[in-house]
Subunit: 303 residues, 2 copies
């Protein structure tokens, strides 16, 4: 099955306790696409400037990602600069240059209209809805958002959420969106807003999925205890890519498939942190992914 993703394709400048890079390929749609490409066919809707080179494009094309929906506009691509301290769960944004992203009006090309799955990466909720409306027959639509949209565009986000099947956010976002401190209570509330599945990501502690049907019935997947998190940028989008990509690769969606998708999400998130930018995802093999899936099982399963 195919997945359409809409989101940023960008360049990042990143500093972490492990080092520094001035400008690497990044953006939510980039991480998501690379990650999901190990499981299924991926199609990207995004906008880039004329600084997006043939080499940048090749990173996606090499992984079989369909880039025909990446619009090219005169000007510079979205650029983000951030810094992580010892607490690698939170980045301090040093610079955000929207550039060509400022007037991004995502259009789904004809050849993408039959996409089976859709992932609406973290952009303005109205743009997310606009894309979703163009692919109404998708089997499952996932969404990411952030505090900025939760706080500044609550009505638009509420509208967009109504039509979404799976929401992937972190602890803080879940608490702010639901106005509930307890995560199970946050989940109960959010699962009345539209999504049937809520995935709450806990950073280095893993992630929990809550389901609307059957009384929340949470499922908790571990994260890998990592000696060194080189660069956490894109870990959440890589999680989403593993999660959605695995779902799209399965003939049927059931509870067990969602549980495995949570594990694949954690696996892909862990790889993303091993090198700066998309470095590790570019080199990855399916064999390594399966081996780490097994490691996650050993990490968390009784005999």
């Amino acid at each position: 099955m195919s997945i359409l993703v809409v989101g940023s394709v960008a360049f990042d400048g990143i500093q972490t306790p492990s080092g520094k890079v001035d400008r690497v390929l990044g953006g939510a749609a980039t991480y998501f696409s690379l990650s999901a490409s190990f499981f299924t066919d991926v199609r990207v809707v995004a906008v880039v400037g004329d600084d997006f080179s043939a080499e940048d494009e090749a990173v996606l094309v090499k992984r079989g990602v369909d880039v025909s929906g990446i619009e090219r506009v005169a000007g510079k691509s979205f650029f983000w600069q951030g810094e992580y301290g010892e607490n690698l769960n939170e980045a301090k944004t040093l610079k955000t240059e929207l550039n060509v992203f400022e007037s991004f009006n995502p259009k789904v090309p004809k050849q993408y209209l039959d996409s089976d799955f859709v992932f609406l990466a973290n952009i303005h909720p109205t743009l997310q809805k606009h894309v979703h409306d163009q692919v109404p027959k998708a089997i499952l639509t996932g969404l990411d958002t952030m505090n900025y949209w939760i706080n500044s565009t609550p009505k638009e986000l509420a509208e967009t959420l109504k039509g979404v099947d799976a929401l992937l956010i972190n602890d803080t976002e879940a608490r702010i969106l639901s106005k509930q401190n307890s995560l199970p209570r946050a989940a109960q509330k959010i699962l009345t807003m539209g999504p049937k599945v809520l995935v709450i990501k806990h950073g280095e502690y893993g992630a929990t999925a809550f389901f609307r049907e059957g009384g929340l019935h949470p499922f908790r997947a571990p994260a890998l205890p990592m000696e060194e998190v080189v660069d956490p940028t894109g870990a959440g989008d890589s999680f989403a890519g593993g999660f959605m990509g695995y779902l799209a690769s399965q003939p049927e969606l059931n509870r067990e498939v969602f549980k495995r998708a949570m594990f694949y999400g954690g696996v892909m998130g862990s790889f993303a942190c091993e090198k700066f930018g998309t470095g590790r995802l570019q080199q990855l093999t399916r064999g390594e992914i399966d081996a780490r899936f097994q490691l996650f099982r050993e990490l968390s399963h009784l005999g």
Copy 2:
């Protein structure tokens, strides 16, 4: 097999977002004993004042706990008063009255000298060592400590740690003790200090065990996503009671037994949070424990 625990038997005044109690039975040794009593024989070494009533004692005796090592001294028992805000992981201490605990010099009674397992709850590391020295033939000794001892008595703690098999602490304590931010690196360092097993507790996110042998080989057990944490006081000691109690109940100690012990730790910690003080542990049945163990498995295991 039998477990000897040394630590506080005390009274607590507790305020949480769920309510308030002025004075309930508490203390690390109390929570530990009640929790471990569901798995094996427990013996307590502690000191109480003359405000420790027959009813207080009955709470332990009813669970089959051997209280002959609880010394009675004229004066008042240890009293702690604390408050939890929305972040239930951290208590704000409002009052600490050491009372009879101030001159506590734990003596292991003759009838306890054959104890198979020892748990040194959170007291001055020199007192912990003093108790441990009296039971040198124990199969496995566990220890808890806190930031206060790590910072104020580092040498004494280092001495005590040398002889200990299992250390149970939380994320912050592990980071401070090891001076490492990454938990696997903290574990590597701490596992050179004496313990063969390090259990790092992550509050609502579960706990990770690291092993000295076989290259850390971490194992992560979940915590139960709880709608309402009524009172987190004693959750860590109840975890320790489930962990150590289960170990002591097994004919052999191997990796699989340690993994299950991590689950039982989480199970007992979750029960402790359901009512104020030891309320829930007092009412608990082994059947409920086994049912929750099964719930933890469903929460975290692929099919």
